[in-house]
């Protein structure tokens, strides 16, 4: 039973875990996005600050270089030691400042190259120009130094200052680009974060709705259904499209309800059958006792008359004939009744022999053909044997009953025909008379026990059990029995029995064994 439900999709627990994981991932993604945005903004700020440092450092450096140049020029003009001191102070601070600038722009290859060019230029200015000029001025002549500073010094310093300006311009462009990209990144991250948050919120709402729809509602319905079921409404059914375990629950619920419903219907039918059985049984007892009383009344009445009064031999014989017929009717009734009981109690045992039903039909035709002078019995059989598996005595009883009925219910006489043939699987026997027929209104009931239609009234005797017993016998042979009839035109009974030929082809053979028996023949 469990295996049947395993076919249902992923289990509810898995679904819930998966949905929670999706929500968690979304939230993590949102936070990662936000952190990235924050760090981008912070980096941008840091870069901005560094750009400022770089700019400040270049400005200071430029001032120092200018101080060096000014000190050198003023000293070479005046020769005063005050200016020399100023030159020396600036000169000694320079190397450290130069390497600091290189450090500041170390992470930026373009600027680093520019810075290196710049510092190289400055160093070249110091070693190739300033230091030799100072030495020359101190040792040789101030005037020569003055001339050098006015021409060479001015050219060099202008060059350096131009480089400074270019460097700062490049730094400025770089800083602006950095700021713009940082702003872009931060905007993107913020957008991503907001989108993630909105998506998470949406997902949580959708998941909540899903839970409500696919779990809460089916469970509520199942609870309501269980209440109904407890109240005896076994027709209640739940919708089975819920997912996972809830789906299993509803399917199991429906199956339970269906089983209960089936069990109840079966019990009701059983109960009805039992009641019907009881009713039939008591009816049977009533009918049997009544059916027994009528022939018994004949036997007792005519016997009493014969014992007490004197009759002429002819009348005597007639009355004795009635007594005999009624006594026979009694014993026939008892036989039939016992058959019915045996069949009803399942004690009806059938012999299983392979018999040629054609032989049996011939015997019966001979027997019944001799019974009535008014009837002509025609027999129509194929040449091939008609083998069936069954109880010869019981089948004889059925054929006898049908022939006896055919004669009985055609009191004006006429032809009674008995025919048999076989097709691929079965043997079919037909008994046809030209008698009174069965009224349409009674055709449905003629196999009912003790039902005799209007036949009792028309003076035809019988127990009303013959056809019921015949049908039971034929059906317990795996066969069928039926009839067609038109009132006033006769009746044709047929029965089909499964054939027992082992040689396969058992089709009807050409050429018929046709015989006629007449009552007069005896």
């Amino acid at each position: 039973m469990t295996s049947r439900y395993r076919t249902s999709s992923v289990s509810l627990a898995t679904r819930m875990v998966a949905a929670s994981a999706v929500v968690a991932l979304l939230v993590v993604a949102v936070f990662v996005g936000l952190i990235l945005a924050l760090s981008a903004v912070r980096n941008a700020t840091k870069d901005e600050a560094r750009s400022k440092d770089v700019t400040v450092a270049t400005l200071e450096l430029e001032n120092l270089v200018v101080d060096v140049d000014t000190g050198l020029r003023d000293y070479s003009i005046t020769g005063k030691p005050r200016f020399l001191a100023s030159y020396k102070a600036a000169r000694s601070a320079l190397p450290e400042r130069l390497s600091r600038l290189e450090e500041l722009v170390a992470h930026e290859p373009g600027q680093l190259r520019r810075a290196q060019d710049l510092t190289a230029e400055i160093r070249r200015y110091l070693t190739d120009y300033a230091d030799p000029v100072l030495r020359f001025a101190q040792t040789e002549s101030l005037a020569a130094g003055r001339a050098a500073t006015a021409t060479e010094g001015k050219r060099r310093i202008d060059e350096i200052r131009a480089r400074f300006s270019a460097f700062r311009g490049a730094e400025d462009i770089l800083a602006r680009a950095r700021t713009r990209s940082a702003a872009d990144k931060s905007e993107q991250a913020t957008a991503l974060g907001i989108a993630g948050l909105v998506l998470s919120a949406l997902f949580i709402v959708v998941f909540g709705l899903y839970l409500a729809r696919s779990i809460a509602r089916p469970v509520r319905e199942a609870a309501a259904g269980a209440t109904q079921l407890a109240g005896g409404n076994f027709l209640i059914r739940l919708q089975e499209n819920a997912p996972g375990e809830v789906g299993e629950l509803t399917r199991a619920f429906n199956e339970t309800a269906e089983r209960l419903e089936r069990a109840r219907t079966e019990l009701q039918h059983q109960n009805a059958r039992l009641r019907e059985g009881e009713r039939l049984k008591s009816e049977l007892v009533n009918t049997v006792s009544h059916e027994l009383r009528t022939p018994l009344a004949g036997v007792r009445g005519f016997t009493a008359l014969l014992l007490r009064r004197d009759f002429e031999p002819e009348v005597r014989r007639h009355y004795l004939g009635i007594v005999d017929a009624q006594a026979r009717r009694l014993s026939e009734l008892i036989d039939h009744f016992l058959d019915v009981r045996r069949i009803e109690e399942g004690r009806f045992e059938l012999a299983e022999e392979v018999i040629d039903i054609a032989e049996l039909l011939e015997d019966e035709a001979q027997l019944y053909g001799a019974q009535s002078a008014k009837h002509r019995l025609e027999l129509d059989l194929p040449d091939a044997p008609l083998r069936v598996r069954g109880d010869p005595d019981r089948l004889r009883q059925v054929i006898g009953n049908l022939l006896s009925n055919a004669i009985k219910y055609s009191p004006q006489g006429g032809v009674v025909s008995l025919a048999a043939e076989r097709d691929e699987e079965s043997v079919r026997v037909q008994v046809r008379d030209e008698g009174v027929g069965i009224p349409t209104t009674q055709q449905a009931r003629i196999f009912t026990k003790f039902f005799r239609g209007d036949m009792a009234a028309s003076g035809i005797t019988g127990t009303g059990l013959g056809l019921a017993v015949s049908r039971d016998i034929v059906e317990s042979h795996g066969g069928r029995i039926g009839f067609t009839s038109a009132e006033g035109q006769g009746t044709s009974f047929w029965l089909e029995l499964p054939g027992a030929d082992s040689d396969g082809d058992g089709g009807p053979q050409p050429g018929n064994r046709s015989t006629e028996w007449k009552g007069e023949q005896r």
């Binding site: 006792s289 009544h290 009383r293 009528t294 018994l296 009344a297 004949g298 036997v299 007792r300 009445g301 005519f302 009493a304 008359l305 007490r308 009064r309 009759f311 002429e312 002819e314 009348v315 005597r316 007639h318 009355y319 004939g321 009635i322 017929a325 009624q326 019974q371 009535s372 002078a373 008014k374 009837h375 004669i407 009985k408 009191p411 209007d454 009792a456 009234a457 028309s458 003076g459 035809i460 005797t461 009552g519």
Partner: protein
């Protein structure tokens, strides 16, 4: 293969069938034509021909018999012939004996006609008497007992 042989013999030796269609028939003894005027008419209502014959045989001489094999014919014949006594089975096709009895008892001209109910059901005796039967005989019956009851009803003792 006659199921209903003509009943020969002294009791009903010269039986004349007056009508036989739809199962109703009237028989009378012609042995004593002079007595025909005095003969009592007995209507036998039973769906079993053998039992009708037994009733006829039990009553012996001196009666005119009419026979009906169902409740409808029984009432028709009763109205038509106004018999001196009706012998009525309770289990009749088409219209049951008790209903026929009720019909007879509500019919102006039949109200006083004696009715002898013959039934296989002793437990229906009371119902039959209440419905207006004058006597009740249980099947199987003794022919002499039937004859006595008949004569009593006809005041022939």
């Amino acid at each position: 293969m006659r199921l209903e042989a003509p009943a020969p013999g002294s009791a009903v030796s010269a039986v004349r069938r007056l009508a036989s269609s739809e199962g109703k028939c009237i028989e009378s003894s012609e042995a004593n034509r002079a007595d025909v005027q005095n003969q009592k008419t007995v209507l036998i209502c039973d769906d079993e021909p053998m039992l009708r014959e037994l009733v006829r045989a039990s009553l012996e001489f001196g009666y005119r018999f009419a026979e009906a094999n169902d409740g409808i014919v029984a009432l028709e014949l009763a109205r038509e012939l106004r018999p001196d006594v009706v012998i009525l089975d309770l289990m009749l096709p088409r219209r049951g004996g008790l209903e026929v009895l009720a019909d007879i008892r509500t019919d102006e001209r039949l109200r006083t006609t004696p009715v002898l109910v013959v039934s296989a059901w002793p437990e229906r005796r009371e119902a039959a008497l209440e419905a207006g039967a004058d006597d009740f005989v249980t099947k199987p019956f003794d022919p002499d007992e039937l004859k006595r009851s008949m004569e009593e009803l006809l005041g022939m003792e």
